[in-house]
């Protein structure tokens, strides 16, 4: 007998889930090797620059580009008149990239240049002569909504800007008989009845302000047509597939001839979810110049031209019974739509979810009117209206609690939902860690004791007052079915060395999606993270994904990747079962090997198995695909429905020190408890929460885009205050793992959550410290000081103004 001694190996069980996994592209980024769009240069490229309006609202009488065209190094100069096939873009298709006939805001694009260098392009801009005829400026939506107000988009108008419609002529936008861009009306229950049954009713008007994304990487794009007229765009869009389709429509091209490559992005936060004029203009320039065109913003241009967070003036009326149960919420909001409609006008989709479903509220009435003005338009920004709504909801939670003599925590616990509840808007809370979030955040911050102590010290001597405030938030955590599909596709392949290529439609915007998707696949296939390469940034290669928004990527792209990985695993185990003549159920993948599930005994290492599969008679490669569509529904015409496959909660307790002699508020500590379903990449999720908290801190205390008479007064970091390192609070973060049944390994989305309730908790902390409630943001020293001295801004929004 010839027995070859064979060493038997065993591999103990292990898991990647919940571990601190290093971000895969971090070493490149820390070495300065990563190429962002600003770092990419194509041979023969020209540099594009945009001439923006000098007026807030004006008729364009004439544009003289002759001197600009004559400047050495200038290839093309274009205006609306040169682009006869121009089509409007944006959420309401009311927005021509190059303005014709009229400018309606300071960011309006009037002309564009492509030249040999950026410097020459900027010189050329100075040589373009535009004659304007001023029109009355509308910067207050309350004024713009009045009958007889000047119309920002009179009906109808043609691409060349004339208001009269010639038969057969093209219509850019049918225009409006008034300045109302959009309306939203929602209701569940009967608020009138509910108010009659309430023991306490409170009403306040809240003013939520302009802030902006301030991605460290400014906006930019490169457009190039190849010899056959196919379009290649290097773009930082967060929605490449939607973009592809929209561009095809705008340019009247076959979408199959448009390709988008996404270089690494210098921050997204929702700023890149719509189509913006500069992108279309860049393509027009490339088309006209027949050369690749690179167009990159300056920081000032970024501040002036990028979409902002949606400013909101809202009146909330809330009621409860003396036993603490909420009875109703009635909401009226006035949304400043700005001159053109972008995603900001649709924030009511999210806001009504908060008003209808954050805490159990049996009756809810919600109304938004979004009104055109000559102000900058707002887009989508981390939280998407939820910061604004939560600011109001959580102010009233404290107010009502105080009115009935109940503690703020008790009041919230009384109304917090449990797993299995379905909200008034039809949101199905299949996994819900809400009460755990409240209890744990309160416990870890010693909330109750500090709250009581601070109230006692309100009138104690000394200028420094401490405050502690609590607030919670609810956001979608399993995607959001607002497009026809909320799905994501994955293609997976293993090579002869068991190296995996994961091709996913989900974009990486710095949040670590490529790492968490790899983590899920490696967990499933029993491989180390080093075995995986991710391809996620080329529409010619990757399968469809709707885009990076609504905190959906871990959940949906994660499930998609898992689906493909499971199919691959099944194929591998089936092949191994055949080879080792046993049942598939007896086998597993671990440590880069096929093992016996019962005891971890190694049967074969995976690379060898892959090669034996490949080089056998009936050759086989392991390649799988999976498209995951979450089991959520579209909302009906009344906005009701289970729009997400899962929901996530978070509670934050904010502690402050307030100097009553200057109004300075220092955020000293934030204790956060977030229901995330399951922690996948602990390092990544901590980073998301910490970053979100500090973004919320900026919204609450320091950031404000000052727009006066339609002009942005602080388009720079000198006067637009981002939070800097010495200002950050101490952060204590806990994760509640409510193990969502549908989420990948139980996980839910968390991208937006941590930014959402910081300002709300801060407002409550200021009240705790001083007994003064401030209903407008941000809590700059001057605003706080004025409020403490009875000189605060009086806010009021009449229902008729908003309805």
């Amino acid at each position: 007998m010839n027995v070859r001694e064979k060493k038997v190996r065993f591999i103990a069980p292990d898991t990647l889930i919940g571990k601190r996994i290093q971000k895969m592209d971090a070493p490149e980024k820390a070495s300065g090797k990563t190429r962002y769009i600003h770092d990419i240069n194509l041979p023969g490229q020209l540099y594009g620059k945009i001439l923006r309006s000098e007026r807030v609202h004006a008729r364009i009488k004439s544009i003289d580009t002759s001197a600009a065209k004559a400047l050495a190094g200038v290839h093309v100069v274009i205006t609306a008149a040169d682009i006869v096939d121009q089509r409007p873009i944006g959420v309401a298709k009311d927005h021509l990239p190059l303005k014709a006939g009229k400018v309606r805001s300071m960011r309006d694009e009037v002309a564009a240049v492509a030249a040999e260098s950026e410097l020459i392009a900027m010189e050329a801009l100075k040589l373009i002569k535009v004659e304007y005829e001023d029109l009355p400026i509308l910067t207050d939506p309350a004024e713009a909504i009045k009958p007889g107000a000047v119309l920002i988009h009179p009906e109808p108008h043609r691409p060349d800007g004339h208001d009269a419609l010639k038969p057969g002529g093209s219509v850019a936008f049918t225009g409006k008989p008034d300045n109302i861009a959009m309306r939203f009306d929602y209701c569940h229950g009967d608020v009138v009845q509910a108010e009659a049954e309430s023991d306490v009713v409170v009403e306040d008007t809240f003013k939520l302000h302009y802030v902006t994304h301030c991605c460290l990487g400014v906006s930019g794009m490169i457009a190039e047509f190849d010899a056959s007229g196919n379009l290649l765009m290097y773009s930082n869009t967060q929605v490449p597939f939607l973009h592809k389709r929209e561009f095809a429509e705008i340019l009247n091209m076959d979408p199959g001839r448009i390709r988008i490559i996404q270089p690494s992005i210098g921050g997204g936060f929702g700023s890149k979810l719509d189509i913006y004029p500069f992108e279309v203009i860049c393509v027009y320039l490339a088309r006209a110049a027949k050369r690749p065109v690179k167009l990159v913003f300056t920081r000032e241009e970024e501040f002036i031209s990028s979409p902002t967070r949606q400013p909101v003036l809202l009146t909330l009326r809330s009621g409860c019974r003396k036993d603490g149960s909420l009875t109703f919420r009635t909401v009226h909001t006035l949304h400043d739509n700005g001159a053109y409609t972008s995603w900001g006008a649709t924030t009511p989709f999210v806001m009504m979810q908060t008003f209808s479903s954050l805490y159990r509220v049996p009756n809810c009435d919600y109304h938004t009117v979004a009104v055109y003005t000559n102000n900058p338009y707002a887009g989508s920004f981390r939280g998407y209206g939820n910061l604004q709504a939560t600011f109001a909801v959580e102010a009233h939670m404290d107010k009502m609690a105080e009115a009935i003599g109940m503690g703020p925590l008790e009041f919230r616990l009384k109304n917090a939902q449990d797993e299995g509840e379905v909200s008034g808007q039809g949101m199905d809370f299949k996994s819900c860690g809400f009460k755990d979030c409240l209890n744990i955040a309160a416990e870890r911050s010693d909330f109750k004791r500090k709250f009581a102590e601070n109230v006692k010290n309100r009138n104690a001597p000394g200028p420094i007052k401490r405050g502690i405030g609590i607030a919670s938030m609810l956001h979608v955590g399993g995607g959001a079915k607002i497009y026809p599909s909320d799905g994501c596709g994955t293609i997976l392949k293993l090579d002869d060395f068991a190296q995996v290529t994961l091709i996913t439609g989900a974009s990486e915007i710095g949040q670590g999606s490529e790492t968490v998707l790899s983590q899920l696949v490696c967990e499933e296939l029993g491989l180390p993270m080093s075995a995986l390469t991710v391809i996620n940034n080329d529409t010619a290669i990757t399968p469809w994904d709707v885009g990076v928004h609504a905190s959906r990527t871990t959940f949906i792209a994660g499930n998609s990747a898992l689906g493909a990985a499971r199919l691959a695993k099944a194929k591998i185990l089936a092949a191994a079962a055949k080879k080792f003549e046993c049942a598939e159920e007896e086998l597993d993948l671990r440590g880069g090997c096929v093992i016996k599930a019962a005891n971890g005994e190694v049967l074969i290492d995976l690379p060898r198995l892959m090669r034996s599969l490949h080089f056998q008679d009936k050759a086989e490669l392991v390649m799988t695909t999976f498209y995951y569509e979450p089991p959520s529904s579209h909302q009906d015409k009344d906005y009701k429905g289970n729009v997400s496959a899962a929901y996530a909660w978070g509670t934050q307790v904010v502690e402050i020190e307030l100097d009553t002699e200057t109004g300075i508020v220092r955020m000293t500590k934030v204790t956060a408890a977030h229901d995330v379903g399951r922690v996948l990449n602990r390092l990544g999720i901590e980073g998301q929460v910490e970053g979100g908290v500090v973004m919320g801190q900026g919204y609450a205390l320091t950031e404000s885009l000052i727009v006066e008479n339609g002009v942005t007064r602080n388009p720079n970091f000198r006067d637009y205050k981002l939070v800097t390192a010495p200002e950050i609070p101490e952060m204590d973060i806990a994760f509640i793992e409510s193990m969502d049944g549908e989420g990948p390994k139980g996980a839910k989305g968390v991208g937006e959550a941590p930014a959402i309730c910081v300002a709300a908790a801060t407002a409550n902390a200021i009240y705790n410290a001083t007994g003064v409630r401030i209903c407008g943001l941000p809590f700059t020293p001057e605003r706080v000081y004025r409020a403490l001295h009875g000189k605060g801004e009086k806010l009021y929004l009449a229902p008729e103004q908003a309805a």
Partner: protein, 289 residues
């Protein structure tokens, strides 16, 4: 694009002073931390000659010269912060440096540049005023290098404007060595430790004597077109025994003495409130010293 026709980098003060007489004007390059953004932002046009003064030895160094500390115009904020002489004799300047912009800017920004930029909110200017600093200006009017001195308080004319002549160069600043019992403190209002254009800043200096300050100097920043001395506040404070009532009264004088403007950083009313409240706080500190 600028229209610079000549770039020079002299290696002596005399050479620099000669260049200053060139037709078409000369723009001086030191740290560049104000010049670059102002030029690129279109707020300042660089003249025909760009003169790099970073290699001129007479503009460098921090030393004691005849009973005074001379700080060369090219001394960077970091150099001042790390100077043993300054730490020992003029700690108020260290306080101001610590609130100045950021480490990166402190490493490049020069004291001369900060003085010549003459911002109403200039961080170093308020403490220099209460230290009775003098500027040392060099030129070569009649073929030989000459210098003149001017009290800093007389140097500022308006926002961004000084009495620096067309053909003059700021060579350095001189501050008389403070006497015993000299007290000097600086406060800059902001929500950040640094990296803030001040909303208001206050400098108070004098000689401590029997619970009062004598030879008082008070200066305010960001509440006037130039960093200003506050004569009425000085008068109210001079020799006054400091208790709650007198501190209140002096703070009221301070509030009334300033006439700031509304701008995007703050309103005039709030600036006045801050001047009042912070002056009060600073005087309480003086009382405890």
């Amino acid at each position: 694009m600028t229209e610079i026709e000549q770039y020079v980098a002299p290696s002596s003060l005399e050479q620099a002073a000669e260049y200053l007489q060139r037709p078409g004007g000369v723009t001086i390059l030191a740290g560049g931390t104000d010049l670059m953004p102002q030029s690129q932002g279109g707020r300042l046009k660089i003249r025909r000659t760009l003169m790099n003064i970073n290699h001129i030895p007479e503009l460098q160094g921090i030393a004691i010269e005849g009973g005074a500390i001379r700080i060369g115009a090219l001394a960077t904020i970091t150099e001042i912060m790390q100077s043993e002489l300054i730490k020992k004799h003029l700690p108020i300047l260290i306080e101001a440096c610590d609130h100045f912009a950021s480490d990166q800017i402190r490493n490049a920004a020069t004291l001369g540049g900060n003085v010549c930029n003459a911002s109403p909110a200039g961080d170093m200017l308020v403490p220099l005023l209460v230290l009775d600093a003098e500027v040392e200006l060099a030129s070569k009017p009649n073929g030989s290098l000459s210098r003149r001195r001017l009290p800093l308080a007389e140097f500022f004319v308006g926002p961004g404007k000084t009495r620096l002549g067309e053909a003059e160069l700021l060579a350095g600043l001189r501050i008389a060595l403070p006497s015993a019992h000299h007290y000097a403190r600086f406060f800059k209002f902001g929500t950040r430790p640094a990296l803030d254009i001040s909303t208001i800043s206050i400098g108070i200096a004098g000689v401590l004597q029997d619970g009062a300050l004598a030879n008082v100097r008070v200066a305010f920043g960001a509440v006037a077109p130039v960093p200003m001395r506050a004569p009425r506040t000085e008068q109210a404070l001079e020799g006054k025994r400091l208790d709650t009532a007198s501190i209140d009264a002096i703070a009221d004088v301070a509030r009334d003495e300033v006439t700031p403007i509304d701008d995007i950083r703050a309103t005039a009313w709030y600036r006045k409130e801050l001047i009042h409240n912070i002056t009060k706080r600073m005087l309480a500190h003086v009382a405890q010293s």
